[in-house]
């Protein structure tokens, strides 16, 4: 019988420093067959292990349309992420996944998309953004509002440039007041305010919001004011997880196990959950 807790072994093929304490790994399967058979969809997450230190949960940050690797972006915060950040290109890490549900991007075809992200929460959206950009003609207008505390804290700086350069993407970047540099050309202000200013048309539009709880809390009412119905607003939830498989018993919010029934939820689904975030 297979051991559901055994990770794939993966090589770190590339390391990118995104922001202070934030790093991206590009990973390749050590076993080619495993790589060939591996499939995931945007929105899913995995458990990454630094052998000797343990496992940590984060989303898959690359797009399923880019098939020959998997990427993850993490902030150095605890025991495992500190150990991960000690690893270099060529080192081995463990990867368990993909777990959880997905963004229903097929249902979104023919619609406008508005992505709203704050800080280190761009990685989960990056997967779905690239997925949709790689299938660009299936979607109408694509708007991305992305904010961080400071200019330095913005992640994927090269991709932000790339998105800015594209005329089929409307990228609005912002930093919190005081976080700007003299040469900053983006906006200065908090994400919810910037969303309100950007005022994306809610007609035929899906909003995908990801960020710290406080940002989500203030962004949802803005979207509502702009006419977004709760079932057209998507987000991803996080909770402490150990197994990722619905067994270890800690990630539930009420009856809902984030690891299995999430991490992707609509604002409508979240509004029905008990207040235990």
């Amino acid at each position: 019988m297979d051991n559901i807790y055994t990770p794939y072994l993966m090589n770190i093929s590339d390391v990118t420093d995104e922001a202070p304490g934030v790093r991206t790994f590009r990973l390749n399967f050590q076993n080619e067959d495993e790589g060939k058979n591996f499939k995931f969809q945007a929105g899913q997450f995995a458990l990454y292990s630094a052998f000797g230190y343990g496992e940590s949960t984060f989303c898959i940050a690359s797009s399923p349309t880019r098939k020959d690797y998997v990427e993850c972006t993490f902030r150095q915060a605890g025991r495992v992420t500190n150990a991960l950040s000690e690893l270099n290109a060529g080192d081995t890490i463990g990867f368990r996944g993909p777990y959880g549900n997905v963004f229903p991007i097929e249902e979104w075809e023919g619609k406008n998309l508005v992505f709203v992200a704050g800080g280190i929460a761009l990685p989960p959206l990056r997967s779905v953004i690239w997925n949709c950009l790689d299938l660009r003609d299936k979607y109408k207008n694509i708007t991305i509002v992305y904010g961080a505390k400071t200019v330095a804290d913005l992640v994927y700086k090269n991709e932000l440039k790339e998105w800015t350069a594209r005329d089929d993407v409307n990228l609005v970047t912002t930093v919190d007041p005081g976080g700007e540099t003299p040469d900053w050309t983006g906006k200065v202000g908090f994400v919810p305010t910037v969303v309100e200013e950007t005022a994306p048309d809610s007609k035929d539009t899906i909003a995908i919001v990801c960020g710290p709880p406080i940002m989500i809390k203030f962004t949802l009412p803005v979207l509502e004011k702009l006419g977004f119905k709760q079932d057209k607003v998507y987000t991803t939830l996080e909770n402490r997880m150990k197994c990722g498989l619905g067994k270890c018993g800690r990630c539930n919010i009420g009856c809902t196990y984030i690891c299995k029934e999430g991490p992707v939820f609509t604002a409508e689904e979240i509004s029905k959950m008990p207040d235990e975030f």
Binding site: I4, L9, F51, Y53, E55, G90, K247
Partner: protein, 344 residues
């Protein structure tokens, strides 16, 4: 299949099990504890108790177990799968409530994907239960749709029919196989209706009223009122046969390590603490609510089973005399009134 087991045959039973390659786990007295543990001789078995202090859980979900090992050599890692964790065994003399916990927990360990550590042990271990001939005020199996002679989860059920005889009833093919393997130990079933000596466990609450109340009362002052005395230890969850939450951690020297699965519990504040410092269940009343909700609402909705077998261990062992059946009694008589009965 029905048979009779005479107490004088216990020696041959235990020897027989050993000869057939089974490890035997049975209740044994150790100072102030009655512990389900490995035994070698029949006379080590303790019979005259209500309940063992430890539950049957640890033979399927040990307090700590290796789920993989690895060797790190420079940039490379090689993984070894643990082997030999499922040992052919018989649990002899566990209580019906403990046995009943096993099929309930099969559901979560089989949910979409199979936890082989649980399932392979389930296959390797045969459960021979002894129906309770006595109980105490903490027992409440009859309130959670079970009974002191419930058959769920047992491969063989023994019921005392006289001071030196048990009625042997096989409940599964596995149980039948075991009895056949040791045929000579058992005698023919009693003629006529045997005098089954089974305890009378008082029904404490109406289980049908519990979930409807929980559905409506996620926010309720009783959670805090009842749990102020809770000290936030993990005793209740660890002695519970149905609490299955666990942690996964790495233990490593320079080049060799194990990934282990350890018991964990919802009453610990660390259980849900995010790295950021945020904690979705930051107070003890939220954690107490989680325990009750998980057992009597969430698990029911997910798996159509109550995650509680009424063994009473959590209440017996609670350092602060939190009593789960008392909480459920309050809930089930409250009938949704805004001001609940408080027993504080």
């Amino acid at each position: 299949m029905e048979k009779t087991l005479k107490k004088e045959k216990l020696n041959s039973l235990i020897t027989g099990l050993k000869d057939k390659g089974y490890k035997t786990i049975a209740p044994k007295k150790d100072n102030n504890l009655i512990t389900l543990c490995e035994i070698q001789e029949a006379d080590e078995i303790h019979f005259d108790h209500v309940q063992t202090n430890n539950s049957i859980k640890e033979y399927f979900l040990p307090k700590t177990e290796k789920i993989l090992s690895y060797t790190i050599e420079k940039t490379k890692v090689s993984i070894e799968e643990p082997e030999g964790f499922a040992v052919k065994s018989v649990v002899f003399g566990s209580r019906p409530c403990d046995a009943a916990s096993l099929p309930i927990m099969d559901k979560v360990f089989n949910w979409d994907c199979t936890d082989k550590f649980w399932i392979e042990r389930r296959e390797a271990i045969t459960i021979v239960t002894i129906a309770c001939d006595k109980c105490d005020s903490y027992c409440f199996c009859t309130s959670v749709c079970l009974a002191p002679d419930a058959k769920q989860g047992s491969d063989v059920l023994l019921t005392k029919i006289s001071d030196d005889e048990y009625l042997v009833e096989t409940e599964t093919e596995k149980g039948e196989g075991l009895i056949k393997e040791l045929e000579t130990v058992f005698s023919e079933p009693p003629s006529g209706t045997p005098d089954r000596q089974v305890a009378t466990v008082e029904k404490k609450f109406e289980i049908d009223k519990v979930k409807p109340w929980l559905d409506e009362n996620f926010v309720h002052k009783i959670w805090a009122e009842f749990s102020t005395k809770c000290i936030g230890c993990g005793a209740c969850t660890f002695v519970c046969p149905t609490c299955h939450c666990f942690d996964i951690v790495d233990e490593c020297t320079m080049s060799k390590g194990d990934r282990v699965k350890n018991w964990d519990g919802c009453q610990f504040k660390m259980f849900t603490l995010h790295t950021s410092g945020h904690n979705p269940r930051s107070t003890q009343d939220q954690r107490w609510r989680q325990r009750i909700m998980h057992k009597f609402k969430y698990y029911v909705e997910k798996f159509d089973n109550i995650l509680c077998v009424g063994c009473g261990r959590c209440s017996r062992v609670c350092p602060a005399d939190m009593n789960i059946s008392e909480m459920l009694e309050i809930i089930s008589t409250d009938e949704g009134q805004p001001e609940p009965v408080s027993k504080e």
